[in-house]
């Protein structure tokens, strides 16, 4: 088959723009790419609780085959102490991925520039938006909340403190839930941002639920500030279960949070009606 148009073919060899098929993406079914389309090659590493010997290597290959690697190649095996063996396995995976079955949660609001956030708050809220942030419970890891709130920001995006129309109160680490609620009331918070990094024994879930329950108890219905939680291990789509308005995951930048706050607290009239 010859391309209808030479330029077209050249252009399509470039990385595909979202939503457009490219020459390297031949259809809805894909396999991993090693060095040839369709070779299905992948690598993995794991440890088995076995001393390193022929039997352990056989066990590693059996696992790889059960995971769909066929043929599987054991490229590295090393004893780690007397009771464990570490393996690196390469192989061609027999599974196919059907892109038609992949669901993507798309951002339901536009990403606003620094200036647009400020002007939206100024025009539509007509006062400064108050944002209270904290790490709650036993969590002492302020990296997340600081990345979003501190002027310093994250990934080149300055934090919420840098927006003149936002008044940010960062309470820092290990804030007790009652103190957070009290402070949010005193500051007349429009939004409360909570960061939860520690996930051992589901601490992030327990803490978040305790927090949202306390806010619902302390505020009249409908007056609860916007509750936003962030952390690397929250599951997408569990907002209702946790009682929060929005979850932000790993890699979230301050501008995304600011855009969301504008969208949720002072939306454009047409956005609000949607």
């Amino acid at each position: 088959m010859t391309p209808r148009n030479k330029d077209d073919a050249v252009r399509r060899r470039e990385p595909a723009v979202p939503g457009e098929p490219s020459l390297t993406e031949s259809g809805p079914l894909v396999r991993p790419y090693g060095d040839r389309t369709g070779d299905g090659m992948m690598q993995m590493s794991f440890t088995l609780p076995l001393p390193h010997d022929k039997r352990a290597e056989g066990a590693a290959l059996q696992l790889a085959r059960k995971m769909g690697l066929d043929p599987a190649i054991l490229v590295h095996a090393k004893a780690m102490g007397p009771h464990f063996t570490f393996f690196v396995v390469y192989g061609s995976v027999t599974h196919l991925v059907d892109l038609r079955d992949v669901a993507v949660v798309r951002r339901a609001y536009p990403l606003l520039s620094h200036k647009d956030v400020s002007s939206a708050v100024r025009r539509r809220l007509r006062r400064r938006m108050v944002v209270v942030g904290a790490c709650i419970g036993t969590d002492a890891h302020t990296v997340g909340i600081d990345a979003i709130l501190n002027i310093k920001g994250f990934s080149g995006e300055k934090g919420l403190e840098s927006y003149p129309e936002l008044r940010v109160v960062n309470l820092g680490a290990q804030v007790l839930v009652p103190d957070l609620v009290e402070r949010a009331r005193r500051e007349k918070a429009d939004a409360v941002l909570v960061s939860q990094v520690v996930t051992q024994r589901e601490a992030h879930i327990h803490n978040t639920k305790a927090m949202t329950a306390a806010f619902r108890e302390a505020y009249p219905a409908g007056k609860v500030p916007l509750l936003v939680v962030g952390g690397p291990r929250f599951e997408d789509g569990t907002e209702t279960e946790l009682g929060v308005d929005r979850i932000f995951g790993r890699g979230t930048t301050p501008d995304e949070v600011a855009s969301y706050l504008v969208h949720a607290i002072c939306p454009l009239p047409e956005e609000a009606s949607r």
Binding site: T47, G81, T138, K152, Q174, R201
Partner: protein, 532 residues
């Protein structure tokens, strides 16, 4: 320690002297505040040294009960030992534990001793506390004996590995396995909530969050296990925990009693990163460091934290300032150079040009300023993204800086930092990384001389200059705390952008100004170097 010549960077000795002189001027007023106050935790630590331990059925330690009861009756400002041993002399109870139990039930009223009773009361208190001090001395002697028997690690830097399961019974086999794999130092990470608990939990604990509670029993169990492993490996394995947070003095005392070898103990970390009241922190810290000095414990300071919250290039001088202040406060409390595990970290964004050269400059600066201190070199965390392959390379470069600049304690970086708590294989791979770099390049210190006025020398001088400027600015900062500019600076957000005024923060209500008749036999014994 290291044989590195301090002249490698050709720092101006006058500037180095100026930096130390400024640190003394910044630190001294804070020491005066520390000497003129006491805290509930200092008093509880004193009772622990006198042998009071254990907790009631609600897990409230007896030392807390006793100190609270004394405080309610006569205040904290005289120290607890006078009213406590007065009560014992009056026959309120046969021993400390019974007295604490009666006090918890509200069955004792405490008074200060009067007239000739005061001297005898204090002699009795001193005799009791001295038994604890002698127990610490014995543990120190035991450590020396075991090191003589099993030996120190064959080479520097010592390899420092972390365990953090939350369950002491899981920590023990993990720590032993880590030692067998090559760790020289085991650090048991504390449960994240512990720094803000105003009591020390009791007993062996199996439930912690991202770490295991520091308790006397956990200390004892882990030290005993590592003694076995030391014997098996023919190498003394050191144990590390945290003397930080609201119970710093008590944990320091327990560490001394149970022969821990290193303790995390930073002068300003609790203030800045945990929002603990500055006065509480400085008082607690001085006492804890006096205990560490006596116990032969190496302290580890937490300068890495400045670099994870601020930009490591822009804020490089805050590390130097913190190291200088930590050194001043440590020496004032009686610690010696070999006990100062001053911290610093490899946290510069790897995407910026010359990041590795800047890391070398900063690491060499610390080495040059503190030639006899066992510097603690900490791995990248901020730019560990989950790309474990790139992270492994970054850790390799971190190890290389450690080798090139003669660091003393190397906290092993994990390629799965920010992904999972380290797996068995992560630890094994990380130790392979360390071993490869040390075998391949450990001797490079001999060949590595940064050229005169090159990027490394210039950068190091610049950072030292900025540190001097910052110290000068702190001294000029006398607005609302004319007696202690450092407190004013901390209140203004000079460090890490966090504003921590001396009148706020957790644990403030546990601070009391000493009365003229304040007595603390533990502080007396520690300052006199006496054991009776």
């Amino acid at each position: 320690m290291s044989a590195r010549p301090t002249g490698l960077l050709e720092l101006d000795p006058a500037v180095v002297r100026q930096a130390r002189a400024l640190s003394r001027r910044v630190g001294r007023p804070v020491v005066n505040i520390a000497r003129s106050h006491t805290t509930v935790s200092v008093e509880r630590a004193t009772l622990r040294l006198a042998g009071l331990s254990g907790a009631d059925h609600d897990q409230v330690p007896w030392v807390n009960h006793l100190v609270d009861a004394v405080r309610a009756d006569v205040g904290l400002e005289h120290g607890v030992t006078s009213p406590v041993w007065n009560a014992l002399r009056q026959g309120e109870a046969a021993d400390l534990l019974t007295l604490a139990q009666k006090a918890a039930a509200g069955a004792v009223t405490f008074h200060l001793p009067e007239g000739r009773g005061a001297g005898a009361t204090q002699r009795a208190a001193r005799a009791a506390v001295a038994r604890g001090i002698r127990a610490i001395d014995r543990q120190r002697a035991t450590r020396q004996r075991l090191i003589a028997r099993y030996g120190d690690p064959a080479r520097k830097p010592w390899v420092y590995l972390i365990v953090a399961t939350g369950d002491i019974m899981e920590d023990i086999p993990q720590a032993q396995a880590a030692a067998r794999e090559g760790a020289d130092i085991i650090a048991v990470i504390r449960s994240t909530g512990q720094s803000l608990l105003d009591y020390v939990p009791e007993g062996a604990t199996r439930e912690g969050f991202a770490g295991t509670y520091a308790t006397q029993e956990n200390f004892r169990l882990m030290r005993a296990a590592l003694d076995e492993t030391s014997k098996e490996l023919g190498r003394y394995i050191r144990l590390t925990n945290y003397a930080s947070g609201l119970c710093m003095p008590e944990i320091a005392a327990l560490a001394g009693l149970e022969r821990l070898d290193m303790m995390l103990n930073d002068s300003m970390y609790g203030i800045l990163f945990r929002d603990i009241n500055p006065v509480r922190t400085f008082v607690d810290q001085r006492f804890s460091r006096q205990i560490h000095a006596r116990a032969g414990i190496i302290i580890n300071t937490g300068e890495d934290n400045y670099l994870t919250t601020a930009d490591p290039v822009e804020a490089a001088h805050t590390v130097t300032v913190s190291q200088l202040l930590n050194e001043y406060f440590a020496k004032e409390a009686g610690l010696e150079d070999w006990q100062l595990g001053l911290g610093h970290a490899f946290e510069i964004n790897p995407d910026i040009p010359d990041s590795f050269r800047l890391e070398l400059a900063h690491a060499l600066l610390a080495r040059a300023l503190f030639p006899n201190a066992p510097l603690k070199w900490m791995p990248p965390t901020k730019h560990m993204t989950g790309d474990v392959f790139r992270g492994y390379l970054l850790d390799g470069f971190f190890n290389l800086v450690g080798a090139l600049t003669g660091q003393s304690i190397l906290l092993v970086g994990m390629m799965t930092e920010a992904v999972v708590t380290p797996w068995l294989s992560d630890r094994d791979l990380a130790l392979q990384n360390v071993r490869y770099v040390m075998n391949a390049a450990g001797g490079l210190t001999e060949d590595f001389h940064p050229p005169r006025d090159g990027l490394i020398q210039t950068r190091a001088r610049q950072v030292l200059g900025e540190a001097v400027d910052l110290l000068t600015r702190i001294l000029g900062d006398a607005d609302n705390a004319k007696d202690a500019p450092l407190l004013a600076a901390i209140g203004d957000g000079t460090f890490g952008l966090m504003k921590r005024p001396p009148t706020a923060g957790k644990g403030l209500d546990g601070v009391a100004t000493k009365a003229p008749d304040y007595v603390n036999p533990a502080i007396d014994l520690l300052q006199e170097g006496a054991s009776r």
